[in-house]
Point group: C2
Chain length 282, copies 2
Amino acid sequence: MDKRGWYTEEWAGAGAAISLKVTEKVHDEQSPYQRIEIYETETFGTLMTLDGLVMVTDRDNFIYHEMMSHPALFTHHKPRRVLIIGGGDCGTLREVLRHDAILEVDQVEIDERVTRVSEQFFPELCSANADPRARLHFADGIQWTKESSPGHYDVIIVDSTDPVGPAAGLFSASFYADCYRALNAGGILVGQSESPLFHADLIKGMHGGLRGANFLDIATLFFPQCTYPSGWWSATMAAKDRALSNFREEDVENRRFPTRYYNHGIHHGALAVPEFLFKTLM
Amino acid sequence: MDKRGWYTEEWAGAGAAISLKVTEKVHDEQSPYQRIEIYETETFGTLMTLDGLVMVTDRDNFIYHEMMSHPALFTHHKPRRVLIIGGGDCGTLREVLRHDAILEVDQVEIDERVTRVSEQFFPELCSANADPRARLHFADGIQWTKESSPGHYDVIIVDSTDPVGPAAGLFSASFYADCYRALNAGGILVGQSESPLFHADLIKGMHGGLRGANFLDIATLFFPQCTYPSGWWSATMAAKDRALSNFREEDVENRRFPTRYYNHGIHHGALAVPEFLFKTLM
């Protein structure tokens, strides 16, 4: 936060930055893994940063959390067991638990402090934490996946930070292979895959890594995300043994829970590949 | 530009700002209408600002210019005469002239200096300015539209600055009525309509104004635009006498010119309405 009351994140390597007007810094701690800071902003509600990078704001997190969960869950024919790697703010967990078929969700976040701080400052994102189907583990997601029983999960969601430091392993070939093994028949993996404008090479590498791990179909979802680098973000899905172009459209239309961004048309539209990425990804 | 070499635009009323790392300021003038500044940036190429607001950068203008032109032109059954209001950087004009059927384009930009400066600093955007079908007029677009022969144009594109100052009239009921009259049967109007996240009320007002001017169908296109407020932008189309959900899909697939963002899937996807805007716009 500068003297004029602005929080600024310089987008790494992008020669660009976003700033949010802050009214107050309300929390600052160094956890064993990272620095966790909470600000109240003038127009984006509460803001959480990890090591100085924007993770979540009240105002725009709905797009990210809905797109990390509903497309994959409505593509799976009947998702019962879900693994979330990361996801410490619990916004993705909340969206996952809106699906009636879900029996259990293992959330494996390495830093318990992120979740405890989120419970304090983002209570609405954590409103499903007490759901009996939710199991919050504070452990290494890479290790957890490696040790999972083969075929245990229907959907794996990698809701991670950027692919540097502890999260780098979540973009590796061996992790993808472990995910493939941990998924049941019909299983789907989805992971956040950075900015289409700034990180096309990462998205391309992810497609290659997932193909190398024997996933049958791979597709990237594109969506706006104001406070993430470039304001444009993506999540990449991989299906063990089916095509990702079909999803349970009727169930989307008839869903009995609220969404603010996601719907049937948005799901279709998010799968459209911008021309400049077409040759890269297809 | 601050002492550390950053250009910053504070997004009006949004409590947020974007910054680009600048290597050099290469032009600065006060035209009769506005202050025109040109910067070289570290990673976004050349940047033009008008009265301190980002208008165009080399790196990301392709999305905006393609979405302001191709969806409307591929929705019209055979666009021959096009009117562009504003559009002084000439990037939209270039995209329009890629369509073979076009016979003439009147571009009516109020500030000749914007175009002259663009010719100097954005030569690739101005590469179609010498096309014999292009007619560059430097005049008031509101007046021009009012005085146009009824039914003269097939497509009208409002490529304007924000709805303050001289551009405010481009969002008015009387301007929409003049556009309706200036359009031929089958005619389509498209105008930039700001950020879905920050300016939903403006988009709603535009739909109401266009309905009030007797347009039969109205539809908003959503697309990322990194350097515009919120990184998420929109353009709103209005059709005189037809539905906007259909477009010449085969012609899009068989187009003989390059695009970098737009394609058949992107056109469909851009028409998907985010859930939080659904009740507002439908």
